[in-house]
């Protein structure tokens, strides 16, 4: 009797279990799918695409702004590709940091070619999500003639206390395209320092050409 009941429950499980859905083509992430990309850089995300159907399917990806499908390489899915039953290929995506908008793409989405009547995407945990961050560069230069302690400021803050000659660098980097302006916050005792090349716009590299030249004051009390 117990065997009959067990068999019945097993059949019920099998019957109802077969009604559960499953994607026709699956996305298995081969890399991290949540990525941070500098605005002047790129990143690559890859998924293994497998056709779970007994029929072959010809697929195409719905375009995503800032994402380019890499269509060449061994085992890589071309732009338009056909997968026979249970065949796989690698969907390789290059993300252009200068084009993307931060957020969840809700993709990538692959559809049967020619329509959007049959489309699938990764599970929520494997959805492609990215954020872009601006490139930042340091501001610095050289100081000479210093015999005491000088405090330099960049854009009125980020105070840098310097006690020896040579190169200096402010601790807080500045985003590409933003202005910098180096001034003397506190002059050294009995010296006056002059800043040369102290202001400008940060480009695509560190600022290293700021020159601070100090000279001794010849006045009473020094």
């Amino acid at each position: 009797m117990k065997q009959v009941i067990l068999f019945t429950f097993t059949m019920l499980f099998v019957t109802f279990g077969s009604q559960a859905g499953a994607p026709i083509w699956t996305f298995v992430p081969l890399t991290a799918t949540t990525v941070s990309v500098p605005t002047n850089g790129s990143a690559t995300v890859q998924y293994l695409i497998t056709n779970q159907s007994t029929k072959s399917h010809s697929l195409a990806m719905i375009p995503i702004t800032g994402v380019t499908q890499i269509a060449t390489g061994n085992g890589v899915c071309p732009n338009l590709f056909t997968l026979s039953s249970h065949a796989s290929c690698v969907l390789s995506l290059q993300i252009d940091g200068s084009q993307i908008q931060t957020g969840n793409t809700n993709g990538p989405v692959l559809c049967q070619q020619g329509s959007t009547l049959e489309c699938y995407k990764p599970s929520a945990s494997a959805t492609l999500s990215f954020s872009a961050f601006e490139s930042q560069y340091t501001v610095g230069g050289d100081i000479s003639g210093l015999s005491g302690t000088i405090v330099l400021l960049n854009n009125g803050s980020d105070a840098d206390t310097i006690t020896s000659n040579g190169s200096f660098t402010f601790s807080t980097p500045i985003a590409e395209g933003s202005p910098y302006n180096v001034t003397v916050g506190t002059q050294p005792l009995c010296q006056t320092c002059i800043v040369t090349n102290g202001s400008g716009i940060v480009g695509a590299s560190n600022i290293t050409n700021i020159s601070v030249s100090c000279s001794i004051l010849s006045s009473l009390g020094c």
């Binding site: 499953a22 994607p23 026709i24 007994t54 959007t116 599970s123």
Partner: protein, 246 residues
């Protein structure tokens, strides 16, 4: 109706007319009847459609039972027949609420990919010819039989689909479409003669709305879901007014 049943009905009718030919007089009166009630349907059938040459889906049916408001206006003439029968013949205009149809969608026509649910509605109006025979045997309650044939207009509309797994994206929906079709109904019930002009009654009616079909999906190459028949069972109350014109 099969050929044998038709022949039997013809023989009965022929016998009746031959036996009572001398008793028949044509003295018609106008009759108007309003029927209101509820209809019940649980239509649906599994279909596999090739929406495009490369996209095939199977649509199963949950056979949901809908309860629909229904109404009919009948205008015709009435004439007494021999053997205490009473006949009515006229035009009937009927309309019902929307029947709800729903089920599941299997991508690739494969139950392993049972990834969507769907639903849509079918509304029905019809204009046709209706006949009614009432037995008036000096009882307060008069039994009746009715039959009608009509041109039906079935409006299949509001199709929607919903993914049942997070990886699936909703598909474009079938377009609304109205199908002009043949429909028929047969019924039976009883009347109470309140006075010479007013009657009240209750009855049962079985009807076939005929065919219905949704339009193609955007980008699709084939028409949408269809039904060759949509059967309903109705319980109807009626109020009838008779007016002598001769």
């Amino acid at each position: 109706m099969s050929g044998t049943k038709g022949k039997i009905l013809f023989l009965i009718l022929n016998f009746y007319l031959t036996a009572h030919a001398q008793e028949f007089t044509f003295k018609p009166s106008l009759v108007t009847s309003l029927n209101i009630g509820a209809s019940f349907q649980n239509a649906g059938q599994q279909q596999t459609l090739a929406l495009t040459p490369s996209v095939t889906k199977t649509y199963t049916s949950n056979n949901p039972t809908s309860t629909l408001p229904t109404g009919e206006l009948f205008v015709g003439i009435r004439n007494s027949l021999p053997a205490n029968l009473d006949a009515q013949l006229g035009l009937a205009f009927s309309a019902t609420g929307n029947a709800m149809l729903s089920g599941n969608i299997w991508d690739d026509g494969d139950p392993a990919f049972n990834n969507y649910t769907y639903q849509y509605t079918v509304g029905h109006i019809a204009l046709g010819l209706k006949g009614k025979i009432t037995g008036d045997w000096d009882f307060p309650i008069m039994p009746w039989l009715s039959a009608s044939i009509a041109i039906g207009f079935n409006n299949a509309c509001n199709f929607s689909n919903t993914p049942t797994i997070p990886q699936a994206l909703a598909s474009p929906n079938f377009a609304n479409s109205t199908t002009t079709t043949f429909s028929y109904a047969i019924g039976a019930g009883a009347q109470y003669k309140f006075n010479p002009h007013w009657q009240f009654g209750v009855g049962y009616e079985f009807s076939d709305w005929g065919a219905s079909q949704l339009g193609a999906v955007p980008g699709g190459t084939a028409p949408g879901l269809s039904l060759s028949h949509l059967f309903t069972h109705s319980v109807l109350l009626n109020i009838t007014y008779l007016l002598e014109i001769f």
